[in-house]
């Protein structure tokens, strides 16, 4: 489903219908998912629409750039160790209209249930998009339209055993890659104490010849100095 499409086109996949048709000098774009229907008229014809997985922070509202993933099973990490685990993370589907070299977001939707949570306390805490994921040793099976696979490298830099039950990311640094089988990204978590850790994304795919997803919010464009997140309220 992901990739560029020349207008006109029509896609029906599970309960999703996406179509863009030419009518005279305009293009009519329609998207249906359940009771959620959207129609837009584009003052252009014969353009391309790119369907791409995007960061899961836009629906139902763009309230926060942070993503908290809670582990279904807590992990114990041994002192001064590094292990890789695999998590599932939610994705949203973005549709971008292309004209020349520029593109603009036309529509974004998700078929996943949405939830927010607070990391930390109500005064100094951080609002996060919430997701609960199983922890796997190998790449889990996923539904391409709903989930991606995150390869998370966990480094325990402390000298004690530590329990990890969640990880929080700043999604501005999120670099997703996709092909027709799965969506993926790489991330790292450096644990310093039982209360603090640092997380970041790594701009790399799990396999060769994967396509980089379109970035709706680019850290460089937003002039952010860092894409890391420092967890200070527990791990």
């Amino acid at each position: 489903m992901f990739g560029p499409y020349n207008i006109p086109f029509r896609i029906e996949c599970n309960d999703i219908l996406i179509e863009a048709i030419n009518e005279d000098d305009i293009t009519i774009y329609r998207r249906k998912f359940g009771n959620d229907t959207i129609e837009k008229k584009l003052l252009a014809t014969n353009r391309k629409i790119i369907i791409s997985p995007i960061k899961p922070i836009n629906r139902p509202k763009k309230l926060t750039p942070h993503l908290l993933i809670e582990f279904e099973t807590p992990l114990f990490t041994e002192p001064r160790s590094n292990k890789k685990i695999y998590l599932k993370f939610p994705v949203e589907i973005g549709l971008f209209i292309m004209g020349g070299k520029s593109f603009e977001l036309l529509d974004v939707f998700t078929i996943m249930n949405q939830k927010y949570t607070l990391y930390g306390d109500p005064i100094n805490g951080v609002l996060c998009k919430y997701w609960k994921s199983p922890v796997e040793n190998n790449r889990p099976e996923i539904d391409l339209l709903t989930h991606g696979i995150m390869e998370l490298s966990i480094t325990n830099k402390s000298s004690t055993w530590l329990e990890v039950s969640k990880v929080v990311f700043n999604s501005y640094g999120m670099k997703m890659y996709y092909n027709q089988q799965f969506i993926c990204l790489k991330a790292e978590m450096k644990i310093y104490t039982e209360l603090s850790a640092e997380t970041d994304f790594i701009d790399s795919a799990l396999e060769k010849k994967m396509t980089k997803s379109v970035e709706l919010y680019n850290a460089k464009k937003l002039q952010l100095t860092t894409t890391k997140f420092v967890m200070r309220d527990g791990i």
Partner: protein, 272 residues
């Protein structure tokens, strides 16, 4: 020529007109600069920070230009301060309130208890902060009224900022009938909260029997929401809770009174 006519000292009418012209041009340029700054940084910083930067740039340019123009007109600003000492005292006393508003405005900008766009309550007036100026703060009330509050009042009165913290608690009291299953009602309320995206997972939503009212068992419901969508959630969720409870046969109780008639009792006793 009228332009060469001297007003005072060596300053001619032409000098005065040039100064006025320069002042007008600078105002236009300053406006253009502020529009450019707003456009360039709109997506890169909050409205509040942006407005602060615009104000600093605008006031700095205006102060420099005014001082330059005064210099060109042969007026030494420092000399003016000394010469106008007595007059300044008189004006100072007269404008005491203006001065305290100005100082309060500066402290408000530095301390920042409120920001542009925040939802606040100041002196029993609720609304959105539209602007924080040097002398006054303007609010747009929820019913769309423009309210100007002197900064001295903002600084000295208690201010409630509804969105200063990132999250806020929605509280309901749901009264169900005594004949209904309170445990089931609590279960349903928690389920409704769990299904709602804007109801936070953590802090955990709570529902518990708070008291036995005259007409109902009162269940307190505490649900945390992002502060920016507090009212949206508050308006939406209560109706959903009512619908979900009613779908399970649990009804919201209303005041009722059972009246016993003495005559009826007597009749019943006679029948017996």
């Amino acid at each position: 020529m009228i332009f060469d006519q001297k007003i005072y000292g060596d300053i001619t009418v032409l000098d005065l007109l040039i100064s006025i012209g320069v002042f007008i041009i600078v105002i236009i340029i300053t406006n253009r600069i502020s529009v450019y700054i707003r456009r360039a940084f709109k997506e890169k910083m909050t409205k509040d920070h942006l407005e602060l930067i615009v104000k600093i740039v605008t006031y700095t340019i205006m102060i420099i230009v005014v001082l330059s123009i005064l210099g060109n007109l042969g007026l030494n600003p420092s000399g003016l301060l000394v010469a106008g000492g007595v007059a300044g005292l008189v004006v100072g006393f007269a404008s005491q309130s203006l001065f305290s508003n100005l100082i309060s405005g500066l402290f408000l900008i530095v301390e920042r208890p409120i920001k542009i766009g925040d939802q606040v309550e100041i002196n029993d007036i609720r609304g959105f902060v539209e602007d924080i100026r040097i002398i006054s703060t303007t609010l747009r009330t929820y019913d769309g009224l423009y309210v100007r509050i002197p900064n001295q009042l903002v600084f000295t009165t208690s201010v409630i900022n509804f969105v200063s913290n990132i999250v806020r608690r929605v509280t309901y009291v749901v009264g169900i009938r005594y004949s209904d299953d309170a445990d089931r009602a609590i279960e349903i309320i928690k389920y409704v909260a769990d299904q709602e995206a804007l109801a936070l997972k953590n802090p955990v939503p709570r529902a518990f029997v708070d008291n036995f009212g005259d007409n109902s068992v009162n269940i307190n419901v505490w649900i945390w929401a992002p502060a920016s969508v507090y009212y949206e959630l508050k308006m939406k969720l209560l109706l959903e809770i009512k619908k979900a409870l009613e779908a399970e046969g649990i009804e919201i109780a209303f005041p009722q009174r059972v009246v016993w008639f003495g005559k009826e009792l007597e009749n019943e006793e006679e029948v017996r």
